[in-house]
């Protein structure tokens, strides 16, 4: 299914730190990723795992963050570009779909003007009439009924699903090569979610763009992604193509995530609950396996001292050695089937 195609985006050792008080704390810690044309890469993780921070680093949308490492987009490093340069890329070659369509549109601007703005910003010669005409076309493209009316309406006159379509129309207006979707369906109800995902996939195929899909919904991942990066506490803990990840998950965190999703095939009394909470940015364990505090029943010796990503099969990477021994506390140690002891 994955055709050998050109690398669109390559992230190398990206570290994004925020200043709290006098010190910098890394929310994204040494992340390396690659995205090809027409590929969907999903980044999965809990809130605070650094998945959105990664996306914002790519878009250069962080305010006062320290960004280290390389972000190579179409052959040039775009990390820490000055605003005038990144503004030429943002909204044109790469664009973003936001989480909450109810707040992502300017409440005082007509839909048409909001779409027109992104057209104007990257093509100052486009006339007002032309922008309006093209806005209507885009609204039609993203499946909004009666686009010629909606173009003159204000955001509050549209439903959440419609507004997300408008946000998508803005994102694809200049046919970007890279589309970052930051939890595009989280704020929508389930029936709309599927439609929006279908739309994103359709547009991706049309434009041949790469998509980074940020989500915590594993159903969305299974539906959309070609490859998946699982993030925990700012690091990638597992990176694999979507089939390997679902069929053969390795890292304890990935396994925990998968077993906390209700299965439809068989009855379950209780879902698995991951113990503890994601540590806050200041309290992140910076040494050793970061997931260790969430699996306290495991012996300390199973963790690597300085956990690295290990390639266990082509394209399948797992961090730390604890995955080899991991078992759920519900199972006894003997029943453990997966471990390579």
């Amino acid at each position: 299914m994955i055709v050998l195609s050109k690398t669109l985006l390559e992230i190398k050792n990206l570290t994004t730190s925020f200043r709290i008080g006098e010190e910098y704390y890394a929310a994204v810690d040494d992340v390396s990723l690659e995205l090809k044309e027409n590929e969907v890469l999903a980044i999965v993780g809990e809130s605070g795992s650094g998945k959105s921070a990664t996306a914002f680093s790519i878009m250069g949308l962080h305010n006062r963050a320290k960004i280290e490492g390389e972000i190579t987009f179409k052959g040039r490093d775009i990390a820490n570009l000055p605003p005038s340069k990144i503004n030429k890329i943002r909204g044109k070659e790469m664009s973003m779909i936001f989480q909450d369509p109810l707040t992502a549109l300017n409440p005082l601007m007509e839909i048409g003007r909001q779409i027109g703005e992104v057209l104007l910003l990257h093509n100052s010669e486009m006339s007002k009439a032309k922008r309006r005409e093209y806005s209507i076309e885009l609204l039609d493209r993203v499946g909004i009924p009666r686009p010629d009316r909606v173009v003159d309406q204000f955001p509050h006159e549209l439903s959440g699903g419609m507004r997300q379509r408008v946000v998508i129309a803005i994102a694809i207006a200049n046919k970007p090569e890279l589309l970052i979707a930051d939890e595009p369906t989280t704020a929508l109800d389930v029936t709309i979610q599927a439609q929006i995902l279908d739309l994103i996939r359709e547009l991706k195929d049309d434009l041949n763009s790469g998509v980074i899909l940020i989500t915590h919904d594993l159903g969305v991942v299974a539906e959309m992604a070609d490859r998946v990066a699982v993030m925990y506490a700012g690091q990638i803990v597992e990176l694999a193509d979507v089939e390997s990840l679902f069929v053969n998950p390795q890292h304890p965190y990935t396994k925990s995530l998968l077993s906390s999703v209700p299965a439809t095939e068989y009855a379950q009394d209780r879902l698995h609950v991951i113990q503890g909470i994601v540590p806050s940015l200041q309290n992140l364990p910076r040494e050793g396996c970061r997931f260790r505090s969430r699996i306290p029943w495991m012996d300390e010796s199973v963790h690597e001292e300085d956990p690295k990503l290990h390639e266990i099969s082509p394209g399948h990477h797992v961090r730390c050695t604890c995955y080899q021994h991991f078992y759920f506390p519900e199972e006894s140690k003997e029943e453990q089937t997966n471990g390579v002891t």
Partner: protein
């Protein structure tokens, strides 16, 4: 939008009726009447009673109310006891003075408040913001009547740069250039005093709105579109932050006619605020009644204007 304005206008009508009733009742509660102070002590009680009967003062309240309303609508509020002239003429002379003073202070308020608020909100928590915020706290804490006294003493008395009272230098030909300049000269110091203290609310409002709006998702989207920072501020942040200020504008217009009691008193400026205080102190009831009605009307119109302005600048307010 027109529907909204018409609806809003209709709501205003009962407000005005209630206001007039309220003012009328307050006026009837006040001790004495037009005859108690104006009459020669040698006139007999019977004659006074007869005059009361003739003037309708023994009529039931609703007849009196009707007579009063009919008079008020025609601009007839009776005579001032003190100035011995029709209340309407008296107010007319003062309202123009107050209008100019308030206009000058409103212009100062926006000329100072908008830039300060924008800078403070945009560069929040930087040094420049801390200086501006410090000023607003100082402004909030300083009573206008103290501040006006201080400016009067410093710039009017000590340095003598500005006149210390009145609205125009005596002996000038009305309408001449000197006359207009003298008026302006008299307006500057009280106008600035009002503005420097009155502006702090505007600055604080604008600052917190800008800080609030800066973090909204649609600002992120605007940046993600590739909009340069200047455009993000001018087109998205400022326009959304200015809504409460725009709404407040209606009330500022109200101030144009009701004036500032403190500053007019301190600068012995012949305006509405001063007239109001003088009339109360001297029990000049017909003037007080007319002024209370007028101020009430101004407040109602101010609220109406605020709503209309808000409906123009914010599409979410409009009723479909």
């Amino acid at each position: 939008m027109w529907k909204f304005i018409v609806r809003r206008l209709i709501i205003t009508m009962p407000q005005i009726v209630v206001l007039s009733l309220f003012v009328f009742i307050l006026a009837s509660l006040m001790p004495g009447d037009a005859l108690s102070g104006q009459i020669d002590p040698n006139i007999s009680r019977d004659a006074i009673d007869e005059m009361r009967e003739r003037l309708g003062m023994n009529d039931p309240w609703y007849i009196q109310y009707k007579d009063w309303v009919v008079g008020a609508v025609q601009g007839d509020f009776g005579d001032s006891f003190r100035f011995k002239m029709p209340v309407t003429d008296l107010i007319w002379g003062r309202i123009i003075n107050t209008f100019w003073l308030s206009l000058v202070s409103v212009i100062f308020i926006y000329a100072i408040g908008l830039p300060l608020g924008i800078i403070s909100g945009r560069y929040n928590d930087r040094l420049i913001d801390q200086v501006i915020t410090g000023y607003t706290y100082l402004g909030f804490a300083t009573p206008l009547f103290i501040f006006a006294l201080v400016t009067l003493w410093v710039f009017g008395f000590h340095f003598g740069w500005f006149p210390t009272g009145g609205s125009v230098a005596p002996g000038l030909e009305p309408g001449s250039m000197e006359y207009i300049l003298s008026k302006l000269h008299h307006l500057l110091l009280p106008g600035l005093s009002i503005a420097l203290i009155g502006v702090v609310g505007t600055v604080q409002y604008l600052r917190s709105e800008i800080i609030d709006t800066k973090q909204k998702d649609f600002i992120l989207l605007a940046r993600a579109k590739g909009a340069p920072e200047s455009r993000v501020y001018n087109r998205h942040i400022f326009r959304n932050s200015v809504l409460p200020i725009a709404a407040f504008f209606g009330y500022e217009i109200t101030m144009l006619i009701s004036g500032s009691v403190f500053v007019e008193r301190i600068y012995s400026y012949p305006g509405m605020g001063n007239l109001f205080i003088e009339s109360i102190l001297l029990r000049d009831y017909s003037v007080v009644t007319a002024l209370v009605l007028l101020f009430g009307l101004a407040a109602i119109i101010g609220a109406l204007l605020s709503d209309i302005i808000l409906s123009i600048v914010d599409p979410r307010i409009r009723i479909k």
